[in-house]
Point group: C2
């Protein structure tokens, strides 16, 4: 998403309104303020306008779905596709727990195989090319052990195939036994080469915890999510699962969060991930732009180290 | 280039060494320090290591060269290719002055038509696809008035075709009448929709100035360069051309520099381009990270407004 933001209008802590950039797609004029504010979670300023890059919606699209005997095999297929240089518009992974929930919730018309599943989207300016790419990816998934490869190019069928991905969160919510049950969605990202490892370890850890948890993700860039369902009294168990996942990601030179952001829960990982000096540099930026700490103070970064609070 | 930088090791003004990020391709953990330091021209810290994203070198590549009756027609073809959603690996524009210089300098084996010229590079995982894209682009350039479309897929021919682009700067240097003559290369970028306008205006302005000047650029993102050749006593004329070009770019919601950076010469445009408040925000960041102003002080941003210096 960040890469699509060209320019922002931002209200600073003292009320000053700035525009971070003009509209050219490329600029090396001064510091990249756009990227300073994007993802700063409201701690550096209030974004009131955003200018986005536009892309042409590719006129041709194909969706493919394939199932694998193991989650690791699915993740390995993703890694092989990525390292082959083939351009896919999207690739999503859903584990067998997630596929079972989608069947149980009956949110889609189709009945799904309850196996680790990859969803691919291919898009381009030309029908022939898009189908050609889809076929090439089919060869890679087969080589990685997929037993099925269903693909759809007409719009109704495409939407139907993609519907399972869209239903992931709702199908998990539908499994709540009591209205007070919670679903925790969290995410990490790792270098693509470590994706099969961390997904397998995270899955084993969820199983050991006794909670219902699934794995879902836009895995093409090494990022994935877990969805954990738990009754309030088991929150510490869920928390422990999340924290172990973050620890693993950081150990693999990954990050505590690929997309969701740091917020409150993950802020103490920032130092572990990046080192105290790096967080101090962020703190200096925060102090420079919001010296009174009136903007989401202590989110993302504690302005005083934890032990002093 | 910026988009390929994942992480940096930076020595700060006080000697502290930080790493801006870990290695995952996606992260939303804290402020985007990588992008703070990339392109900061040594004013915020000293970069000592960079971790780059790697991409697979596409196994198939085609180069195409086509000539146009006018520079505007060539720029319009680029705009149409970009808005069609066709992915090109590179597109470069060279005007007829530049093509003539390349012939004169005889730096390449081929003899070129001395007309506004586009150079395209197409690349992909599949030979058939790459050729198919090249053909589609050929249809667009033809529709925009190109009279020739030469393309090469074997490596020797590709390199030969691309050689003209590589020879641009050297062929201009070869036109110096005296060893004290200078070549000034500068760049601006505008929204793609304004590219044909600014290229035409800049070219007319160079002609009016009486200097030899050519237009060269990676126009796919609205960015282009001018190369001006002048004897030292005509420096004010060259300066005036550059300044008028920057003014035009800013008026078209573009930027004083797409790639080259602000440095010293363009720093007083920063306020015109972005407003005083935005430059003040950059100044606050600079002060926070380099309070003694020991790192390239007054480059990019004057730490005191111009009139006070």
């Amino acid at each position: 998403m960040k890469d699509w933001v060209l320019s922002l209008t931002v209200v600073l802590a003292d009320g000053t309104i700035i525009q971070t950039r003009q509209r050219a797609r490329k600029s090396s004029a001064g510091y990249d303020l756009t990227r300073v504010f994007v993802g700063s979670e409201g701690t550096l300023g209030l974004v009131t306008e955003a200018t986005l890059k536009l892309a042409v919606k590719p006129p041709h699209e194909v969706v493919a779905v394939c199932t694998f005997p193991t989650l690791r095999a699915a993740a390995s297929a993703v890694r092989e596709v990525a390292s082959s240089g083939i351009q896919v518009a999207a690739v999503e992974i859903l584990d067998e727990v997630q596929m079972r929930n989608i069947n149980l919730a009956a949110l889609t018309r189709l009945k799904w195989k309850e196996e680790p599943t990859l969803f691919f989207k291919f898009a381009g300016s030309d029908d022939f090319i898009v189908k050609h790419i889809a076929k090439k990816v089919g060869e890679i998934t087969k080589r990685n052990g997929s037993s099925t490869y269903t693909f759809a190019s007409d719009e109704a069928e495409r939407n139907e195939l993609w519907s399972a991905r869209k239903a992931a969160l709702w199908s998990m919510l539908a499994q709540r036994q009591s209205p007070t049950d919670k679903v925790w969605t969290t995410d990490v990202a790792v270098p693509l080469s470590r994706l099969p490892d961390i997904i397998e370890l995270a899955k084993a850890d969820i199983e050991k915890s006794g909670l219902m948890g699934s794995i879902v993700g836009h895995v093409g860039d090494g990022n994935f999510h877990t969805l954990l369902l738990f009754p309030e009294e088991k929150r510490p168990i869920a928390e422990a699962v999340v924290h172990r996942m973050v620890d693993m990601a950081i150990e693999m030179k990954g990050t505590a969060t690929g997309e969701h952001g740091i917020g409150l829960v993950k802020r103490d990982y920032l130092e572990k991930e990046l080192g105290k000096e790096t967080v101090d540099t962020m703190r200096a930026m925060k102090s420079a732009l919001d010296p009174m700490c009136i903007l989401n103070c202590d989110k993302v970064i504690r302005m005083k180290p934890a032990q002093e609070q």
